[in-house]
Symmetry: C2
Subunit: 383 residues, 2 copies
Amino acid sequence: MMNVLSAEAKRELLTRGFTRRTFGRVATLISAGATLPFYNEAALAQLSMVQSKMPEDAVIINANENPLGPCNEAAEAMYSIVKKGGRYLYQLTFELQKTIAEQEGLKPNYVSVYAGSSAPLHQAVLAFCSPSKSFVVADPGYEAGGRAAKFIGAKVINVPLTKDYAHDVRAMVKADPNAGLIYLCNPNNPTGTLTPRADIDWALANKPKGSILMVDEAYIHISPHAVSAMDLAAADKDVVVLRTFSKLYGMAGLRAGFAAARPDLLEKIQPYSAGAMPVTAMVGASTSLKVKTLVPERRKIIGDVREDVFSFLDKHNYSYVRSESNKFMLDTKRPAREFVQAMAAHKIYVGRVWPAWPTYSRITIGTRDEMEKFKAALLKVMA
Amino acid sequence: MMNVLSAEAKRELLTRGFTRRTFGRVATLISAGATLPFYNEAALAQLSMVQSKMPEDAVIINANENPLGPCNEAAEAMYSIVKKGGRYLYQLTFELQKTIAEQEGLKPNYVSVYAGSSAPLHQAVLAFCSPSKSFVVADPGYEAGGRAAKFIGAKVINVPLTKDYAHDVRAMVKADPNAGLIYLCNPNNPTGTLTPRADIDWALANKPKGSILMVDEAYIHISPHAVSAMDLAAADKDVVVLRTFSKLYGMAGLRAGFAAARPDLLEKIQPYSAGAMPVTAMVGASTSLKVKTLVPERRKIIGDVREDVFSFLDKHNYSYVRSESNKFMLDTKRPAREFVQAMAAHKIYVGRVWPAWPTYSRITIGTRDEMEKFKAALLKVMA
């Protein structure tokens, strides 16, 4: 977790070693004393950082964070629990589990609460992939699962998005008869584009036997049109749905998320070092779920800023991929790493580059003020 | 993590299955789809609960929690970070790591920050123990490590405390030439008794080659006389020191702790699903460390209540083991499980029973008011 950059180098070395092995997965790593440096959005953003120290007035739009933070009601709930934090208060985790279950039409034991959704994503890769069971993911797609898969010697199959920037479920399903985990992020990260529910249903009906479909819905609340796959988890399908409170709910640093699936799948992705959950996050998440106006209000706030940025880009004839999320891919018409550095010189820290789309940089939607600064710098850098 | 009680039953079943196996450890479990339900203090307390629902006015002295909660300065720091929690704020974890390192005379890379100390304890067992490398622990001792060890098929060797209730380091070191991890909790849990530093040094000098000494100092701040082993970690010895903010610092539900050791040992116990840490806990812990009066003040508060309880017990000729911690072992002079139930009937929830000491119950030191209620119930139950 610490020293991300040196761990990165280590990971590369170790990956080469471990892909030659076929015996065991985690045990091999542990007995060899290897670190397991998997990454979440913030750590991946760090890897892409030009400088390690950012100035005080930096505009940070590189990690799909929500500058709004938690809503007032959630903040109040967190304030009020802090002084009681001398106790473990497990019941607050159970209450969150129950609230989620009620709202999503699930039985409580179909919900596992975590401190974010990175843990269940990584652990699902460890549970369902292996050197003989691959990880299938969109390209460009969220890299965390693929890094975990590579680390344990599982093949990562990157399947290009369709021309409409949806997951190419037909190609993904055909990619490997021994697929372990087929990972769909909807809306996709980094593109913020949607995959139709009919395609998700088709993937489920046609996926290789024994494989699991994971639908990562980290950004779903921000999109006006995305359709959740939660009902498939409720219906005992081979589906694991991930959700997080890190994005629309503005709780990335506070740590709450969950996995939803039938209990036998949830059991397989349980962590081996379960501990108590942070009570601040538990009450913040429970409270957020009860604020009925929160999702539509924030969807509108983020959407309005996003559409304003898109109007600006259209006006200046810049190329980008239309998104329904809090980030989008901008075609910088040059090696995008150069663009990232040029923007950083203006104290605008934009997101990283995917090898499949080397001229694109991922831009997170910040506040209106932040995006005005982004626009001003963009005009200079693109000139 | 969820459904602890049913997981308990499952664990028992699985343990029997897995101890017969010698191939692999975690991988075996994951490929078999097993849950890995390890336990922390709160979960263990839950297991010992007589009822699943406690009344509103229950006195909860069963999980070594600190009813004082975080100090005011830490609470203020947590309040002030909540609204910024829309970002991952990794730098707050690095700042905590740096503060710990400065205060403990360690290089920063000798410190790994976690959301509590359960994770590094469990992960150290996975890293250093195996079916051929045992886990050596005091009896009675904190059970979490032993549960993790049993679960992966590692032998657990319980070594009775000395007549002075110290760890019997000579017997522990001799217990198994293939020991993987020798675990000392100082002050010990559940007894709150000390192990002299000279004995820890002796254990280090004489332990089997290849074994690691873990010194769990979860309760060390509460004791006026315990001597830390932190300098041994700084000196590159085969020692891992655990600390938590859950006890004296009153942050059990807020989740912060750390492991200290030379970097190659820390790497071996890194989690496979590292994610961001809860920012509330990070600033709460950093701030707590900077409140210079906190440790002596709280040590005195807890110590005064404890000594008052001991005076009461002496006056009534009740038997107990003198402790320097926020808990002690009371000899109930009957099967202690009966005592636990009898106290629960008075809404006093006392701690669990260790098989080696079947007539003892572990009592956590609560507030003065809570302990008055404890005393009143005790007189009735012991009558």
